[in-house]
């Protein structure tokens, strides 16, 4: 690690910071994936977590996932709220006995010294009504700031996790701001360079935040979105129905992944509709339930696939 050039050091480079995390978890035996190519609200939605958390097979993975939260847009005016940000996600199944220690080592790798900083595991029971998932764990605090979520999945997509997977989610911008010592996310040094060569987070994302805030709150085409929701829901059900086969001695499913893509789609479209304020309180619950039903059906399909089933 001593060989890290200055522009890649976590305390001055956002991208260097990400690379160090990837390197760290690769060293722990994780496969390092690239972001999933769909819009989603959190890294948990990535099939590498949602689906891979199910079934008995060992699975260790880590990846960055751009996360879209249309409602959190602030037109680029809030120092730390974004409608698009990065999560770093680690999933290890079964959860290793030293997962907390590994997590603390990963903090050390990005420059958070536990002799200097107050690191705490504060109760946080995680539940995702849209995914039909829950788990117990903590929010991890560093000097009073929440920097990660740490969860032992108990149930995902309505299916009991057996064995349990441990999930870590790092809020990358927030952690990087802490490590770089900046108060405004847009001031993060993205590429670790100085002077004219320096690229900030604002250079990369400020315009996008402004444009997407406008889109999410004012212009997103709700007629189209309602239609897209309906279509995604229908397609998901259609693919699920079409995927079932009677195998030689057990039922199997051949299209869980494409079906689940439509579930992801429906969830994001719902978030956009919600941000546009066109879903009433009562309708809201019913939309969430509809997405959950899709997620559960996908989970059920997944555990009848090659990667999801026993043996």
């Amino acid at each position: 690690m001593d060989a890290i050039p200055a522009h890649m050091r976590p305390e001055r480079s956002f991208q260097g910071f990400i690379l160090i995390l990837q390197r760290f978890w690769a060293d722990q035996g994780c496969v390092i994936l690239q972001p999933y190519d769909m819009e989603m609200g959190a890294g948990t939605f990535h099939p590498a977590t949602t689906l891979r958390a199910l079934g008995p097979k060992q699975w260790n993975a880590a990846y960055v996932q751009p996360s879209r939260r249309p409602k959190d847009g602030r037109y680029g005016e809030n120092p730390n709220r974004l409608q698009h940000y990065y999560q770093f996600q680690v999933i290890m199944k079964p959860s290793p006995p030293n997962l907390q220690e590994l997590y603390l080592k990963s903090l050390a790798a990005i420059g958070i010294d536990s002799a200097l900083h107050d690191i705490r595991f504060v109760e946080d029971d995680w539940e995702s009504p849209t995914l039909g998932a829950w788990g117990l764990g903590w929010e991890c605090w560093c000097d009073g700031m929440e920097v990660s979520q740490f969860t032992y999945f108990q149930q995902v997509a309505g299916v009991e996790c057996a064995p349990v997977a441990g999930e870590l989610t790092y809020g990358l911008e927030r952690l990087a701001m802490y490590v770089q010592g900046v108060d405004r996310v847009y001031d993060l040094n993205f590429n670790g360079r100085d002077g004219a060569d320096k690229v900030t987070y604002g250079d990369v994302f400020l315009q996008a935040e402004q444009e997407y805030s406008r889109h999410n709150f004012e212009y997103a085409d709700t007629t189209m979105l309602f239609e897209q929701f309906r279509m995604a829901e229908e397609a998901c059900k259609k693919y699920l129905a079409a995927g079932w086969r009677e195998g030689s001695n057990q039922k199997e499913h051949l299209m869980a992944l494409p079906a689940y893509d439509q579930c992801i789609k429906a969830s994001h479209v719902f978030n956009l509709l919600d941000a546009r304020g066109v879903i009433s309180v009562t309708e809201r619950a019913s939309y969430i339930m509809r997405v959950r039903e899709l997620a559960k059906a996908c989970g059920e399909a997944w555990i009848h696939t090659e990667a999801g089933r026993a043996v």
Binding site: P96, L136, G144
Partner: protein, 779 residues
């Protein structure tokens, strides 16, 4: 005698669960020991974020031997009984049993069971794993490799190590040998996660606690709390300030650290422009830090105190700086919320309430606010409040629910309303009502006294109570999701503590009437509705269609119009095309959009009156009044002025403490008993005035005269609400009643005289009913 040390070492246990878990562990282990015949001398349990620890000292080293005689079946009894007896007692054959002769019942087998006591170490090895497996965590989880298999251990968070040692102080203790989910009990634990993470080997509680302390773990939560409070006070004092103590926060914070280190940080002065309560909520709820005030002004200062879990290598500079950054960002959000709240007038927020559902059947928050406004205006003159101010107060009282600050900190509802109302120049009483109309929230909460607040507080609670009873959503057992009990007690306290003379029934009628009236004004369709009935129509498959009869009540003038008549079982609100119409409507769009299921309003009110009577009884009993006296007063009927009920109960209680009272009660009870028996015998009552011509004895005449006098005097006193005077008038009845029972035989041979005397007894009962139904009084 030997001691037990048990430690369950895990990943971080939620702070809010630690105290109860320690208690549960102590209770479960000691209960089990006692059940095994192992009486111990003392036990103490502790919790830190990472461990539950129990020490039990003075446990016998082994169980005493057990000798027991167990009685079996009769000699020559059924074979099944005998086999069962042998099996239960472990005897090989009947030859091992004794025979006991019982002169009454014949001969029985007796088994002599001798069970040698086991070593406590073995007993512990048996009970401890069961306790771990059945531990009552509010929420528990599975983890790791084993969670894939059925029957995996669950714990609050992953369990890593177990210490279980048992032995005498003077000797090397034994390890209690057991295993839960692959974790062997042993004698190893670990120190502070960051400052002393190495393994520690321990023998017993004394060296365990001391070694932990060396390894930067304060085991006892009380000691951690003391450290936090003492250090926090010191830090504040050193700067001339004062810690704002907060027990709930202290309990939580002490469960987040094993080695508490209090540190002080500060924030920008400009944030002190935010109300203190908002600053405190921000710093406390989100950051779990204490706030600090200036003792000279009583106002918060720009300092806060955090509790770290480590002695940092830089003395805490980085930790303070980090916390300051987070608190700055939080306060900046809070200030932004507060400032932007101030830009919108409270009344401008009201239209949004039209879209917020309060309850499916009762409609939106907007409707509710209108009802409360109407009811509060009606109550205002009765409680001495200015009607216009009261209306304004009720109009604005809920508006802060839609502000940003309350959205962020729901516990500040009402209080923020007050600040915002004052900021927009509302009258002080109007502003205060925003906060006070929620009160009293619990037994310790203050009852508002400003008449405007009182009127709005009553209206708010009565609206909820009467409408929920009306649609049949009553609290049952421990379930009271809408806190109706609390609302009723609130109403009672508002009335009693402000000495308000109000008719509960008319208030409840008004509350229901508000809903009808507002709906009638807006949609003109409040209906009486029948059950769902089969009609003559059929669908295409030949099934009978169902529908309801209904009658629209056009422009009702009072609640009387909705007393349910024959053929109707409930009321409904619709968005109506049915003005003035009655008829039959099949299931379909009209009923689908209707708000159905409101019962007879008068029945609902009767039920609610009983509910109030129950609450009042509980309330008075808690204050030491006898519940039978409360019953005796309520049993008079028509008692709907709660303040008068209480005064009557008080006067009655005092009266019954006197000899006159006791004797009169005895006399009345005697009269009652005789009447009861004779009424039953004759299957009739003995109402009506006695005939003076039929009196034969002086005592009869004297009693009749006394009753007349007392009736008049007591009646007059009650009319003046002077219950003490009514009671002393009543006392004068006593000698006549006593003399009557001494000298007069009620069941005279002449049936006419008998009847007349029974009527006279009935008059005693009637006279005493001026103050209470004496038959309900015990003793």
């Amino acid at each position: 005698m030997p001691d037990l040390l048990l430690e369950l070492f895990s990943e971080e246990i939620p702070a809010r669960m630690q105290a109860k878990a320690a208690d549960d562990l102590r209770r479960m282990v000691t209960d089990k020991l006692v059940a095994e015949g192992l009486v111990y001398e003392g036990a103490k349990a502790f919790a830190t974020p990472r461990r539950l620890t129990l020490t039990v000292h003075g446990i016998p080293a082994r169980q005493s031997d057990l000798k027991e005689e167990r009685r079996g079946p009769r000699v020559g009894g059924a074979d099944a009984a005998i086999q069962g007896f042998l099996k239960a007692t472990g005897l090989a054959s009947l030859s091992e049993a004794k025979i006991q002769t019982d002169p009454k019942k014949g001969d029985f087998y007796i088994a002599l069971i001798e069970k040698p006591g086991r070593p406590t170490l073995d007993v512990l090895a048996e009970i401890l794993p069961v306790i771990v497996r059945t531990f009552p965590w509010p929420k528990s989880m599975r983890w790791g490799e084993r969670s894939g298999k059925p029957g995996a251990l669950t714990w609050v968070r992953p369990l890593h190590a177990v210490i279980a040692t048992f032995g005498l102080e003077t000797e090397e203790p034994d390890v209690v040998k057991f295993d839960v989910a692959g974790i062997e009990a042993g004698r190893t634990t670990f120190g502070h996660r960051f400052m002393a993470p190495a393994a520690i080997s321990v023998r017993r509680f004394e060296d365990y606690e001391a070694k932990l302390l060396d390894a930067k773990v304060v085991l006892d939560p009380e000691r951690r709390k003391d450290t936090i409070v003492t250090d926090a006070k010191q830090l504040a004092f050193a700067q001339g300030f004062e810690l704002v103590e907060d027990q709930v926060l202290l309990d939580e914070v002490s469960g987040l650290v094993e080695w508490p280190v209090a540190l002080m940080g500060s924030f920008d002065q400009e944030y002190l422009a935010i109300p203190d309560e908002v600053i405190r909520a921000t710093i406390r709820n989100n950051q779990k830090c204490f706030v600090v005030k200036d003792p000279k002004t009583g106002k918060l200062t720009n300092k806060f105190i955090l509790t770290a879990n480590i002695e940092a290598s830089d003395g805490g500079k980085a930790i303070v700086a980090g916390n300051e950054r987070v608190i700055r960002a939080r306060l900046s959000d809070a200030k932004f919320f507060y400032d932007s709240d101030l830009k919108t007038k409270l009344e401008a927020r009201l239209p949004k309430f039209e879209n917020i559902v309060f309850h499916e059947k009762l409609g939106t928050q907007g409707e509710r606010i209108k009802r409360i406004e109407r009811l509060a205006a009606e109550i205002a003159p009765l409680v001495g409040a200015d009607v216009e101010k009261t209306k304004r107060a009720a109009h604005l009282a809920k508006a802060d629910l839609l502000t940003e600050v309350v959205g962020e900190f729901p516990e500040l509802q009402g209080l923020m309303g007050k600040y915002y109302a004052l900021a927009q120049g509302e009258d002080a009483s109007v502003a205060a009502a925003s906060e006070e109309h929620y009160k009293p929230q619990g037994p310790a909460d203050r009852v508002p006294t400003d008449p405007v607040s009182v009127a709005v507080a009553l209206a708010d609670k009565l609206d909820t109570l009467s409408l929920f009873f009306w649609m049949g959503e009553l609290p049952t057992g421990s379930k009271d999701p809408f806190a109706l009990r609390r609302a009723a007690i609130g109403v009672i306290r508002l009335m009693l503590e402000n000495q308000l003379r109000l008719s509960l029934r008319s208030l409840l009628e008004s509350a229901i009437w508000s809903m009808i009236n507002l709906w009638d004004n807006q949609y003109r369709s409040v209906l009486l509705v029948s059950e769902l009935l089969e009609s003559d129509d059929e669908d295409s498959a030949g099934r009978k269609l169902k529908g309801r009869h209904f009658e629209h009540v056009r422009s009702p003038e009072s609640l009387e119009a909705f007393r349910l008549r024959d053929g109707y079982s409930s009321m409904a609100f619709t968005f109506g095309d049915e003005q003035g119409v009655s008829g039959f409507e099949l299931e379909g769009p009209m009923w689908a959009q209707a708000r159905l299921g409101f019962s007879d309003p008068f029945a609902a009110i009767r039920e609610l009156e009983l509910f109030f009577a129950d609450r009042l009884k509980v309330q008075l009993r808690d204050q030491g009044a006898r519940h039978d006296l409360v019953d005796a007063v309520f049993s008079l009927g028509g008692q709907d002025d709660l303040l008068l009920v209480v005064r009557r109960v008080e006067a009655l209680g005092k009266f019954l403490d006197t000899d006159d009272g006791k004797n009169l009660l005895a006399g009345t009870k005697r009269a009652n008993n005789i009447l009861g028996i004779e009424e039953k015998k004759d299957k009739r009552s003995f109402d009506g005035a006695p005939d003076a011509a039929l009196y034969k004895l002086d005592e009869e005449k004297a009693l009749a005269k006394a009753i007349d006098q007392v009736k008049n005097e007591a009646g007059a006193a009650v009319a003046k609400e002077d219950f003490a005077a009514a009671m002393s008038a009543m006392a004068r009845l006593r000698p006549a009643v006593d003399a009557f029972f001494d000298k007069v035989k009620v069941n005279d041979d002449d049936p006419k005289v008998r009847e007349n005397r029974l009527r006279l007894l009935n008059e005693i009962r009637a006279a005493t009913r001026a103050v209470a139904d004496f038959s309900k009084i015990e003793g």
